[in-house]
């Protein structure tokens, strides 16, 4: 294929699907709904256009497990657009991208350095591969009750103490928009012979705006997991895995194929292709709009009083090396309400659904699809809530991050002999399962970590305020599995 074919105005998967439709094939292959003819209710609900392209891999459409034509070309265009050496279209969510990064770079018993406030998908990967986590505690903003980034000096310290570690994982940014110094961390990792992996589940926009923090690929990181479906506009569950020059893509492919569906959805893949084209051609303009809208909302909310919509003023050059101004995180503690309470009131009373509410903050996700008038609704609703629901703020908890005591690796704990105990009797035991609020899905307790009174108090408080607690086998979260005979 010549240069003309591989340019950002093209969308190879979309074009191939259009050709496939025009060919009017008689489908004697799966899926069995046969373009919706076998499932009218589904066609009625999702729309005929959708079912027309819900097809299986075939010669003209390539195959995600072994891409040699249109999918390969779409991946090349995505790599080009994101400034990576290679890209992989992922259909198992950014969870699958994060897991592929970790499984590709660390083997059983090898070490990986990571902040403890990672998404559960990262720790799940450690259960799968048996690697040993070396946690760097994120800094915490006491007033906002959020964990920040990692101090560069502490990560380098961890590298020096664990020279055998194979990789370092960095959130770029966190859910709340906080960035660590990924450029210097990448350089430090490389000088220690380690790979730098970036969880960019919330960072697609960094690749397309000069006004935002640096993207992982732009500073030479080795791999990045990018949730195009979050800020980039593709369908839920579609994601990109980006790799740099020094990554063996054949091996990464093998790792991906261990767990990836062999019937990857063309709805997801075409949405990645179309979104990549849109971002490559219009990204700068799109995200300028998002930044402007978010800044407007931030100023309006801050001028209401009683809320704190934080922004670039948090930057301290270290644990908050940079801030993603497209994130609208709002601390609600000054009006005496936990974030989760405001989140619930907004949904139940005002028909406004936010991205998350934790015990101190709410997060409104502002993106490519937002309109000014909807921002006005959010700001007005917050004004009304402040008047009608405010309480005495003195009884609120803030803390979001609790330093873990690690007794066993996640894999050892997960596969250990277990016993189930009532939650309140687990203090001092070693957890064999996760305990977290979802969202944000950052474990309060991960397998292998010691249960403390502090953690149980936090969980009890979060539960009372209305957070959704997940992780344990017991869906009612009254019991927790712990390791039998930890031998400590």
């Amino acid at each position: 294929m010549g240069i003309e074919y591989l340019n950002q105005e093209r969308a190879p998967i979309l074009e191939a699907l259009e050709k496939m439709k025009a060919a009017r094939l008689v489908p004697f292959d799966v899926p069995g709904h046969k373009r919706g003819r076998g499932n009218h209710e589904l066609a009625e609900f999702l729309g005929q256009n959708c079912l027309d392209v819900d097809v299986n891999s075939m010669k003209m459409l390539d195959n995600l497990c072994h891409p040699v034509s249109v999918i390969r070309d779409a991946e090349k265009l995505a790599a080009q657009a994101f400034g990576a050496a290679n890209s992989f279209f992922m259909v198992g969510g950014t969870t699958s991208s994060v897991q592929a990064m970790i499984l590709s770079t660390v083997k059983p018993h090898e070490k990986i350095i990571l902040p403890r406030n990672v998404h559960r998908s990262a720790i799940n990967a450690l259960i799968l591969c048996g690697a040993t986590p070396v946690y760097v505690n994120p800094q915490v903003d006491e007033n906002l009750g959020i964990s920040l980034g990692m101090k560069t000096s502490e990560v380098i310290d961890a590298m020096n103490k664990n020279p055998d570690a194979r990789a370092v994982l960095v959130n770029n940014p966190t859910y709340y928009g906080i960035c660590s110094d990924i450029e210097n961390l990448t350089a430090a990792a490389h000088s220690h012979g380690m790979k730098l992996l970036a969880d960019e589940a919330h960072g697609t926009q960094f690749y397309f705006s000069s006004k935002l923090p640096k993207s992982a690929m732009s500073v030479g990181a080795d791999m990045a997991a990018v949730s195009v479906h979050k800020s980039g506009g593709s369908l839920t569950q579609s994601s990109l895995l980006l790799t740099g020059e020094n990554i063996n893509t054949g091996y990464v492919h093998q790792i991906i194929n261990l767990t990836q569906s062999t019937s990857a959805s063309y709805l997801l893949m075409s949405s990645l292709d179309i979104s990549r084209r849109n971002l490559a051609l219009h990204g700068e303009e799109i995200f300028s709009g998002v930044i402007e809208l978010t800044e407007y909302a931030r100023n309006e909310i801050n001028s209401l009083g009683g809320y704190y919509a934080y922004g670039k003023e948090l930057i301290d050059g270290d644990a908050v090396f940079d801030f993603d101004t497209t994130k609208l995180s709002i601390c609600t503690l000054p009006i005496g309400l936990a974030g989760i309470e405001v989140y619930d009131i907004l949904r139940d009373e005002y028909d406004i659904q936010l991205e998350l509410g934790d015990i101190a903050n709410v997060l409104a996700y502002i993106s490519i699809g937002d309109r000014k008038k909807d921002i006005e609704r959010l700001v007005s609703a917050l004004a009304d809530i402040k008047r009608n629901y405010r309480k005495d703020p003195s009884r609120l908890l803030k803390m979001e991050y609790i330093d873990p005591i690690v007794d066993a690796t996640p894999k050892e704990a997960f596969y250990a002999q277990k016993k189930s105990l009532p939650l309140e009797e687990t203090v001092g035991e070693t957890a064999a399962e996760f305990l977290m609020c979802y969202p944000p899905g950052i474990p309060v307790l991960a397998p292998g970590e010691r249960v403390t009174k502090e953690i149980l108090d936090y969980i009890r408080y979060a539960k009372k305020k209305g957070c959704q607690i997940t992780g344990p086998e017991d869906m009612t979260i009254n019991r927790l599995q712990v390791i039998r005979d930890i031998g400590k």
């Binding site: 309006e300 209401l304 009373e349 005002y350 028909d351 000014k372 008038k373 909807d374 006005e376 609704r377 700001v379 007005s380 609703a381 004004a383 009304d384 008047r387 009608n388």
Partner: protein, 285 residues
């Protein structure tokens, strides 16, 4: 040659007016704005394909959205008009010499300019010094206003376009806050007949009931609006729309109206049983 304007009242129902000519058409930042001239209804304003007013029947809507509240409390001095860029409601308000100031907050400048040029019957009053026009989102305007107005009239488009934010709890809550203790809010409340509109009407009513102590609905008949049967909401922290109202006082003002009268005022609050039922459904839970 025949030229017809057609509005889709529901996916299965159409309402058409024979058009003499089109006078204006522009896509504004918020919506498509059209003005047509016709033999039957005179000039008429259309936003995103929906008739907002016609010269022939606009008096019904504008009188009913204004005089009910003015009769309940003739001492009203400061009025906030949200929407109403066509000027019809402002014209009715200006009939009261006692009103000192009308703040008109219209999101779309194109509506105001087009009406001034082509529908002077309603917009002719907009240069009156008692009318202050703000081109702004009403939801934003009202956010920081406190204890300021005697009357707020929500003269909005339907809840499926730019007026969406004016049918929400946050808007009504902020209105309640912007009103004085004896303030009144009147809003256009959609039709109760077609299902989609009736659901929107119920949602709006539920939100108003939550924000105001007194909340009643009244009706009128508008030939060019979907189903012809139209509702308005009357909400207040203190004043009842009928009980204790001194109707003679309003009569003594000797204002000229074509639709509104004090007998009709009382009668307008008697609603069909199915409408009462729709309202009760949301008042109870």
């Amino acid at each position: 040659m025949e030229l017809w304007f057609t509005e889709q009242h529901t996916p299965n129902v159409r309402f058409s007016i024979k058009v003499d000519k089109q006078l204006f058409s522009e896509n504004s930042e918020f919506q498509r704005v059209d003005i047509f001239d016709s033999a039957e209804f005179g000039r008429f304003l259309v936003l995103d394909g929906r008739i907002m007013l016609t010269e022939k029947d606009e008096f019904i809507y504008h009188e009913m959205i204004t005089h009910v509240a003015m009769c309940v409390n003739p001492a009203i001095k400061k009025v906030l008009l949200v929407g109403g860029g066509d000027g019809g409601t402002a014209r009715e308000l200006l009939k009261y010499d006692t009103i000192e100031k009308i703040d008109l907050v219209e999101i779309d400048a194109v509506v105001v300019e087009a009406c001034k040029k082509f529908i002077p019957q309603t917009a002719g009053c907009l240069d009156n010094p008692r009318v202050n026009i703000f081109i702004e989102d009403g939801l934003k305007f009202i956010r920081r206003v406190e204890n300021e107005y005697d009357l707020i009239i929500v003269d909005s488009t339907d809840p499926f376009g730019p007026g969406e934010g004016l049918f929400t709890k946050e808007f009504y809550g902020n209105c309640s806050h912007a009103l004085k203790a004896d303030g009144i809010m009147v809003n256009q409340h959609e039709n109760p007949y077609y299902q989609k509109d009736a659901v929107a009407m119920q949602r709006a009513h539920k939100r108003i009931v939550n924000s105001f102590l007194i909340s009643r609905v009244y009706q009128c008949h508008i030939p060019t609006y979907p189903s012809g049967h139209w509702l308005f909401g009357f909400a207040s922290k203190k004043l009842h729309p009928v009980e204790g109202v001194d109707f003679r006082r309003w009569k003594n003002l000797n204002l000229q109206t074509k639709y509104y009268n004090t007998k009709l005022h009382r009668g307008a609050f008697y609603l069909p049983s199915y409408v009462e039922k729709l309202l009760r459904e949301v008042e109870e839970n």
